[in-house]
Symmetry: C2
Subunit: 207 residues, 2 copies
């Protein structure tokens, strides 16, 4: 759902997008391709990673590392990898917890960066609903998007894409270790979503 | 520092405050008493808990459970205990992590409630600097204070105190298990503080 939402937005903005999934003949991705015209295509995770100049990891937390590994190191080396996913464990129902091995003193963003040291991992977009990711005006006024990563040029490129999505306030929290902090926002995001019975809200830092 | 700041504010608002510490003849609390007049006094944690109608736990995360235990179950039973502290582990420097046993699927707020089932634990004020806790106008405009706890009447009483501090937007996140989410805000609070080189900011939820 996150991948389809971001993929559609990228196609609308004139980009060519290849949606990856575990198998090349996935029904959901075929439907997405069908709805999104000539600039949309699909393939395996490796096909998508080989195709893209910039890769978005929009997989669920429990399968994220497997998906990124399936994309293949050669297809990721030197490329920007925008990590949107969160290490959420829903195995005990709502609200979810974070996987202990991927939180507190580690994070999914760091684990991906460590596993693929030549990829340029940028953590972004993980603290909001997917509809808001590509349409920040859904929540009125100014509100914030957090970002982190080790590579300044990669963060500048991702900032350009985020601005094209409509984001005006992008807070760079520093190197990829800040992904610990960004992913740890999810527990309060979920509690707020339960309180408001809606995902249409966002955080704003007031100074 | 948190206790002195909140204690001074409470004295200024006309309350009687007994500041607790490990020993009855603590130099810092003696200085605080001296500066705050007739409504300020000090004693052991047990003295303070016995004295107060409402107890504020403003201890550091690494000593919080010991401090609350030293306050004594008989002195806490039936009373409101406002838990302001966070289970921050600074043993590896900045930024801190959270103690694994007190985070993710547990929290300091829950641990205190579980240890003292007849206390009415309300988690509040833990996601901001102590100066901002008692002077929300330090950050301009509207911004939010998170609160949770199992006892509705206790949360209503704490809300009255928070309003007397100047807070206008208090978000009740539900029962004490929401303390997991509130304490997990600290990692991003610390990153933002490092980014801005100032603790004078706060979160606002925009809908």
């Amino acid at each position: 759902m996150v991948g389809a939402t971001i993929g559609t937005k990228l196609v609308q903005l004139g980009h060519q997008v290849k949606m990856g999934s575990r198998t090349a003949n996935n029904e959901k991705t075929a439907k997405w391709v069908n709805e999104n015209g000539a600039n949309a295509s699909s393939g395996t995770f490796a096909d998508a990673a080989a195709f893209g100049e910039i890769i978005f990891n929009c997989t669920k937390g429990d399968g994220a590392m497997d998906a990124v590994k399936a994309a293949g190191e050669n297809n990721l080396n030197g490329k920007i990898l925008v990590d949107v996913s969160n290490p959420l464990d829903f195995s005990k129902g709502m609200p979810p917890s974070l996987y202990p091995a991927l939180s507190n003193t580690n994070s999914l963003g760091e684990e991906i960066q460590r596993t693929f040291p030549n990829a340029k991992v940028v953590k972004a977009l993980n603290t909001m609903s997917c509809v808001l990711m590509v349409n920040p005006a859904l929540v009125p006024g100014s509100h914030d998007l957090f970002m982190c990563g080790n590579d300044e040029a990669a963060k500048a490129s991702v900032t350009d894409i985020l601005k094209s999505f409509g984001w005006t306030s992008i807070l760079d929290l520093g190197d990829i270790t800040a992904a610990r902090a960004m992913e740890a926002v999810l527990p309060i995001w979920v509690r707020l979503m339960m309180k408001y019975q809606s995902p249409n809200f966002n955080f704003k830092i007031v100074k």
